[in-house]
Symmetry: C2
Subunit: 466 residues, 2 copies
């Protein structure tokens, strides 16, 4: 018998390491940093129980140019009603849409026929508050819808409809605007167990002209997205988010850029390894800052401009995705898992995913234990396209503060680890676990962002519904 272990198993209280405060990740952004031609707000509709907590968000494009829309949706077989409806809106409009309506507090998932009707009602009501038809002259629905929260409950739809109606052009309660406060309200309406609103902006230049990107997303559990473009097959997530730009991008190129960006950002993060029924990332490009009469950015006609846009979108998506991990349920660590030297990028991505979701690795990270054996066991459990050579594998813990990395396994041989130095690195909030399979530098590096597994995680999820 291991009596010290036994003692630990049966004692009855434990002190939870305080979750580091994360609210400093939310900071004011100058109103001039947001893209032009958008109006936003967040409203308290009453989906959430607590009075005054924002739970319905609206984002409208007011640009006189056509607004392109692209999205990636969950691959889960049980797609929530808003996912199905948004897919249909995008498909029927050939990549155009001018509005997004979102609610938190209820996922409208597994809600049958009523759920579909409710999601359509949100779309139709939001269509009503859009300015007159855009240049595309579309007369069909132009709103995309997202919901997040508990599965299997119906929306309090009349409350949501009233909230949307409060934003009609002639309503005295209209709060739609394009300043920081408006963007912040919208970002707050996304939140469920998040501890801070996730809002960022970025400026970039294409062909000498300046454009802006801004966006928001939310976590903080059931986060292990695997999203694909619409209609590719059954898709997965409860990560939802949206990105708006005032560049003009053609619908097809916007979708291709988003698919590329999502693979390297939202599809490369994990909080708990669980995919949701609602994961959705939407991007709108309204061209409000594009030169008059200039064509939309398109991969076929201006590859260089397209690639600049794709890189900006990808980097921005990675920033937004990292915020979700940073605020993961119960997370006290932000850990980058990098895998290189694998036979293929897909192999590297699968290993990084496996390490990032291992309960044993994640509890060791929480315990600040340099338990590379668990990293290795997770690595070895992934079937690869070519055999792995154990005697070529190295594992290194890399601190985020720029100090010397700590190799713990070199070419399959354990190093004599300086435990004090290991503790120093693992006590940081941010660090990297680097796994080199020794296959050379040809293959693209795969990178996953994950967090630790804490008492807090168990507490939050042990009684989520209550």
């Amino acid at each position: 018998m291991l009596s010290s272990r036994l003692f630990k198993r049966f004692s009855s209280t434990v002190t939870i390491k305080p979750t580091p405060s994360k609210t400093h990740h939310h900071q004011p952004i100058p109103s001039s940093s947001f893209p032009s031609g958008y109006l936003l707000t967040g409203i308290y509709a009453g989906v959430k129980k607590k009075a005054g907590v924002l739970d319905v968000g609206l984002i409208l494009s007011t640009s006189s140019r056509p607004t392109s829309a692209a999205a990636c949706f969950t691959k889960n077989a049980f797609k929530a009603a808003p996912v199905i409806v948004s897919e249909q809106v995008i498909a029927s409009n050939v990549g155009r849409a001018r509005a997004i309506v979102v609610n938190s507090g209820c996922a409208n998932a597994v809600t049958g026929k009523q759920g579909m009707e409710d999601a359509w009602a949100m779309v139709k009501e939001t269509d009503e508050i859009l300015p007159p038809p855009s240049a595309s002259g579309s007369s069909s629905h132009e709103t995309l819808v997202m919901s997040t929260g508990v599965i299997g409950q119906n929306l309090p739809i009349s409350k949501i409809i009233s909230a949307i109606q409060s934003q009609h052009e002639n309503s005295s309660t209209r709060s739609l605007d394009n300043d920081f406060a408006a963007w912040e309200r919208a970002a707050k309406a996304f939140m469920t167990t998040d501890t801070f609103p996730k809002l960022r902006s970025r400026t970039f230049t294409i062909n000498g002209r300046e454009y802006k990107l801004a966006g928001m997303d939310k976590g903080a559990g059931m986060i292990h997205p695997d999203m694909g473009p619409p209609s590719i097959g059954p898709l997965h997530a409860t990560l939802i988010g949206c990105i708006m730009t005032d560049a003009a991008v053609s619908p097809l190129s916007l979708q291709r850029a988003l698919t590329h960006a999502v693979e390297r950002s939202f599809n490369s993060i994990s909080v708990d390894g669980d995919m949701s029924t609602n994961d959705t990332i939407i991007v709108l490009a309204n061209g409000a800052s594009a030169p008059d009469g200039a064509p939309e950015i398109d991969e076929k006609t201006d590859k260089e401009a397209y690639e600049v846009f794709r890189k900006e979108l990808t980097d921005f998506a990675i920033d937004l995705a990292k915020l979700v991990v940073r605020d993961g349920e119960g997370a006290t660590k932000f850990v980058t898992v990098t895998v290189k030297g694998a036979p293929t990028y897909e192999d590297a991505h699968r290993i990084a995913s496996r390490i990032s979701t291992s309960a044993l690795v994640k509890t060791a990270l929480y315990g600040e234990d340099a338990n590379w054996g668990r990293v290795l066991a997770a690595t070895g459990s992934v079937p690869l396209s070519a055999p792995l050579h154990p005697n070529k594998v190295s594992v290194t813990f890399v601190p985020s503060d720029g100090t010397t990395p700590l190799p713990v396994l070199v070419n399959g041989e354990p190093e004599k680890v300086d435990e004090e130095r290991a503790s120093e690195i693992l006590s940081l909030e941010d660090f990297e676990v680097l796994v080199d399979l020794g296959g050379g530098d040809k293959a693209e590096v795969a990178r996953y962002y994950t967090c630790d597994f804490s008492y807090e995680y168990v507490r939050i999820n042990g009684d989520y519904r209550s």
Copy 2:
């Protein structure tokens, strides 16, 4: 902001629900219930720090007939030295072996050349205490070796060698025997974070003759085995166990029966979803109770007898596997996940595995929350061989006490759940989550055994090495 949630995230202590005592699962077994022709013991060698805790086990076959041996090993790419050595011994002896040596406290994994030498040293030393060569006349190594514990540390090999030497025939400290106490000592030498030794026996009849099976195993973390027969490819586990019978079974049929049994038992349990570098299940069949001169049971010559044996072995393996889940690190629940009506058995098995490893499902089980939405999200995230029809899927919570099951989702529509009744069922230590995909009863039912995810799990694994 969800203030009640926030409060929960930042308060600093929590009372851990007492882990139910599991020691009653270990009970005396009459010495007459063990198979004939075996000698066993467990010794304190000093691998574990705590004095007197058994950490080396020995199992010898003393039968005058040849002893068949079969095994399933981990598919992990980083196979521990004892796994590689045992594979070689079985292969070079064409399925014959007469002894098993096991140590706990150190996994002898990722230990390079020294690790291989140490594993071979354990084999050679145990060979020395075997009785004179069996009828097979083998002069090669006849011992299989297993190790479990921390990865990346070398064995204190001289201590282990001394322990084995203490069991030489002429040694005054020899404790090898075939009574309950001897089997219990061996079972205790398997334990790491286990809270009770896992030892069972069973009697069965073939062709009018009575035989016995007895065996032992251990968990309690890094449990999500995926084991295959030797040399099938890279294999996974830290589940180790062995089963001994006094029936006579040919090596090939013994391996086929074990592979079948392991798929339905040890490869269908999950504590934490992590595969180990050491998982090994060994079966020995020494024929000590077989009629004089009778041929070994073989699938080709007596299919009926083989099928009886395979069924007994499978049921027994399921019993042993369940004990591992029952004693999972921090487990307070024993949950059977049954999936039926899937396109294929493999689809059903994949879904059952996914549900059984979902952190969100497992924390809900710990919280006694009938959160079928998480069950459904896990189900929907598995890619299947044919599309799943959400409106045919049903989920039911089935109590273990024989009272009425509680449907929570019927043909894709949420039921109005009687929360009181749900609490009643979920407060049981044992219950079943039944997922029916509605594809009819043609496909074989897949069944997985899992446990919940508790504060205890985090505590045990947050500082395993320290």
